[in-house]
Amino acid sequence: MTGLLDAIIQGILLGGLYALFATGLSLMFGVMRLVNLAHGDLIVLAAFVILAVTEKLGVDPFAAVVLAAPILFAIGFGLQHLLLNRTLGRDLLPPLLVTFGLSIIIQNGLLQMFSADSRRLRSGAIETASVSLGGDIAVGVVPLLTLASAIAVIVALNFIFYRTSIGRAFRATSDDLDVAQLMGIDVNRTFATAMGIAFVVIAIAALYLGLRANFDPTIGPARLLYAFEAVIIGGLGSFWGTLAGGIILGLAQTVGAHIDPEWQILSGHLAFLVVLVLRPRGLFPRAVD
């Protein structure tokens, strides 16, 4: 019984990581209707950037994220402004092709620069620290921080979206591109800002990816798949839905693994399929279309 309870707790915490993967994707789709096939690779790229900063400057990964966040915001802003905005339009294919190409470029670029070796972010004692919950159950500090960060990111994004004028512009632009321009909204700049924010979320996701497990340049596409599943389970357009989607995915994986370790990945996908059959629009859909 303790084993199952443990699996459930670990699943919820793992869900925090998947929610972090998914939130950036949810933001990009929510504002720009952009399906970013390079999302997983961007997370891996950010993990390597954090790794490089920690090694070059000799700082802790947490400090490295804070240092890297403005740079990643600028990269995201530039990527959207100079490249991705040109692909957006009535045709859905160009952004898919371009982000697919980006994915390949990032993977091979990382292989070239960092080799195919598995790497890890090191943060000293916190990596192995844990909190006892009584009985035989203990939870790691890093997984706890992961979930707490996911919640904090979503609270922050909801604040931006529903309490600030740039958030109002995000929602208006997502609703109606033409009329948004009639309001004096510079759509290209608005999209670029959204992508900059998404890149900061990507950096936070990358931090926990690198702290919790090994990473190498090829693991991006699998992270993309988890992120997609979390977004779809939660329903398009709702950040809290995305968190719920991540947690459901995490739970399904750990509970599946508890039954039989071979079932871990499969049961996650099965949970996704079940939700898709029962609630095709996800659990908490917000988007109108």
């Binding site: 609703d175 009329v179 948004a180 321009q181 004096g184 759509v187």
Partner: protein, 232 residues
């Protein structure tokens, strides 16, 4: 010099030409109405002025300055606001947020504030926290006009503001026009409802197949003239 004028303005949707050289102009504070059958190019004309359809730089002049090639987001900052056909409020924004976003691009303070828009259309204040789509058609139209006013326009372009509304609601909305005009704002009304348009306008233009087929003051145009200009 007129406040806004168009000179041989043409517009295309791909290969299809919708406007064949429109020459039109009006002064500050003037209200003009554009009437004409479906497909005559009335809405296209408004979209071209607002910058949603590209045109040659010197085919639209504001204060004598060419603005034809500017983007919609820049044109609204110059003082031209469009109330789009079908209202097109932002469905995921509340009424108040819809009004606030109307002032998104404005740099200078002007006569129109949230409070003044609520003064013009008190019902919007009651429904300020409602999501835009649950408003009645008339309330949505008021919100769409208020949203455009929030940019403090010198020129207010209104595309079919009476479309699909009950006559009593239309009367309410048209009753707001004099207040809008007291700020020196010029109003361009595109209307199917000829009677309403003639009552409100200082001058009337009739469009037919992308050309101006008739122009004059409402009192000076005969029923017969309008009929011919409308249907050819």
């Amino acid at each position: 010099m007129p406040l806004l004028s168009t000179h041989n303005l043409t517009a295309f949707y791909g290969d299809f030409q919708a406007l064949y050289g429109i020459d039109l102009g009006f002064d500050a504070g003037e209200t003009i109405a554009i009437i004409g059958a479906n497909g005559a190019g009335k809405s296209t004309f408004l979209k071209a002025i607002a910058g949603l359809i590209p045109s040659r730089p010197d085919s639209v002049l504001l204060d004598g300055q060419p603005i034809g090639a500017k983007r919609a987001a820049d044109i609204v900052k110059l003082g031209i606001a469009l109330v789009p056909e079908g209202r097109r409020l932002f469905p995921s924004l509340t009424v108040e947020e819809n009004l606030l976003i109307g002032g998104h691009g404005r740099k200078l303070p002007g006569p129109w504030t949230l409070d003044r828009v609520y003064g013009l259309f008190p019902v919007l204040k009651e429904r300020r926290a409602s999501a835009a789509p649950i408003l009645s058609g008339g309330q949505q139209q008021m919100a769409a006009i208020g949203r455009a006013l929030m940019s403090n326009p010198r020129v207010l372009l209104c595309d079919e503001i009476s479309l699909g509304l009950a006559p009593i609601v239309i009367a309410d909305i048209y009753a707001a026009l004099p207040q809008i005009k007291t700020e020196g704002t010029s109003v361009v009304l595109v209307e199917q409802d000829i009677v309403q348009a003639m009552k409100a306008a200082d001058r009337v233009y009739c469009f037919q197949e992308g050309r101006v087929s008739l122009e004059g003051r409402p009192g000076e145009l005969s029923r017969d003239q309008i009929h011919r200009a409308y249907f050819g």
